[in-house]
Amino acid sequence: MNQIAQLPARVRLAGISKSFASGKQAATPVLSDISLELEQGELVCLLGPSGCGKSTILNLIAGFEQTDSGAILLDGSPVNKPGPERGVVFQQPTLFPWLSVLDNVTFGPRMAGVKKSVYLPEAERYLRLVGLQDFHHHMPWQLSGGMRQRVALARAWLPNPEILLMDEPFGALDAQTRLMMQELLTSVWQKTGTTILFITHDVDEALFLADRVLVMSARPGRICAEFKIPFPRPRDIEVLVADVGYGTLKQKILHIVREEARKSMAGTAP
């Protein structure tokens, strides 16, 4: 992805902070002074212990929540509400159970009033990309968890968003399915070149997927480390784990993540 690294940032978070009020207690700061940039076509993983506020960052970029201070810019214009140029894949598939697979996938263009002749070939393309070309008329509940999440992927991708935001989308899947989904994601991403922000707490997942890994601190969340992931693509998990550099990098990142997790445990202890 080196040839496009010189392009201007698509998404810029400039010094954002966020705190949540809980009951009568003083507001707890969740994020403090986060700044980050995503470049065109980059796949960035945001890695951190649970409760560090990584999902909050995603919610802010998606426009579900508002920052207390700082700015979120998409191609230079501020973000303040959800929109189809920022696709989201949630931890749960969050499909619409009353719609077939095809109707779920085409929900976006149908809401926008796009002609069927325009969106149908695109929908077919994405369903093929996620391996569900034979499941157009199935209902969500007839699919396995992994298949549902592939539908969700195709649904978020079809409107051709500027950026895809993924909130631990494979966290609820079993290990084998998760690995297949990671391979599927990178293969579709290499074909489409969409900018992706991927949230995870799994170091292996981050190393397999990312161009760049941002590690977050315990609450209040800051970005405390950044790693470029040098492995060539397409990546093969079996080749990666045999690579000495993979082990070293994993050890380094794991060390920071564990430190932060320990801090956050200490912070929440009574």
Binding site: A62, K81, T94, L95, F96, W98
Partner: protein, 269 residues
């Protein structure tokens, strides 16, 4: 919804076995009931045996009860109930949805709904007679009001029950407020609304007896009350069986409608 799924997936009994066991249980009760009459365990005046009720049914089918044919009694009751149900559903669902979606609407209506809903509707009979007279109006109102309040409450709960992420998913796909309502909130609420309507119709059917206590001269509820005053327990039992059976058929019809129109009820996605 999830309840019935659980029952089906319980280990031990297949659907056929369940039906067989249920049929057996009913047959056993009917048998013991019949024996209680034949062997004179219980005075038939207190508990007329099934054969006597059957004989009564044949007689009433031929001659009617109090100059009105049995079909007429059934028809009158079903018509009263159906008209009131339809009106309650048609008005209750929109109002309930409005309460579920709008805090101000809910704040205004909530106290009235919550006061009236648990109120025993029989207590309203004197007022309804004064307000609507002793004709169909008061009977309609009594069935309507009990069914309506229950529909409102369940529709309001159904509208609130949509998951935050489902709405967010629609918003990130570009749905506007109106589309979020029609394409997500509404279909999402439908299974629960159906369940609410089922319960409400049960409640409405229950209040049929109360409604037909108001100076009627036909209808199943009236038939039961009238037969009771003449100690015609056989007719009372027949009326009870018909009221129960028809109530069951109403529910069955709604279950079928629910399966047809909201097959996603209780399903995960």
């Amino acid at each position: 919804m999830s309840n019935s799924v659980n029952t089906r997936s319980q280990p031990g009994l297949s659907t056929t076995q369940r039906v067989a066991v249920s049929t057996g249980a009913v047959a056993l009760v009917l048998g013991v009931w019949q024996l209680s009459g034949t062997l004179k365990w219980i005075d038939p005046l207190l508990l007329p045996p099934p054969t006597e009720i059957f004989q009564t049914t044949v007689d009433i089918l031929a001659d009617g009860y109090r100059q009105v044919s049995l079909w007429q009694h059934i028809w009158v009751s079903v018509l009263r109930a159906t008209v009131a149900f339809a009106a309650a559903i048609a008005t209750g669902i929109p109002l309930g949805l409005a309460m579920g979606l709008s805090q101000p609407v809910s704040a205004v209506l909530e106290p009235f709904v919550q006061f009236l809903r648990p109120l025993p509707k029989i207590a309203l009979i004197p007022l309804t007679v004064v307000w609507f007279g002793i004709d169909e109006g008061s009977k309609f109102f009594l069935i309507y009001i009990s069914c309506f309040l229950s529909v409102v409450v369940s529709a309001a709960a159904a509208a609130v029950g949509v998951s935050k992420n489902r709405i967010r998913a629609a918003q990130t796909l570009g749905a506007n407020r109106y589309q979020v309502f029609t394409r997500v909130v509404l279909p999402n609420a439908l299974p629960e609304i159906f369940t609410g309507v089922r319960l409400s119709i049960g409640i409405g059917w229950t209040s049929l007896i109360a409604a037909e206590m108001v100076a009627a001269n036909s209808g199943l509820g009236w038939m039961v009350i009238n037969a009771g005053t003449y100690l015609r327990t056989d007719v009372v039992m027949l009326g009870i069986l018909l009221l129960g059976g028809i109530g069951y058929l109403f529910d069955l019809a709604l279950v079928l409608l629910q399966r047809t129109f909201v097959p996603w009820a209780g399903r995960d996605a």
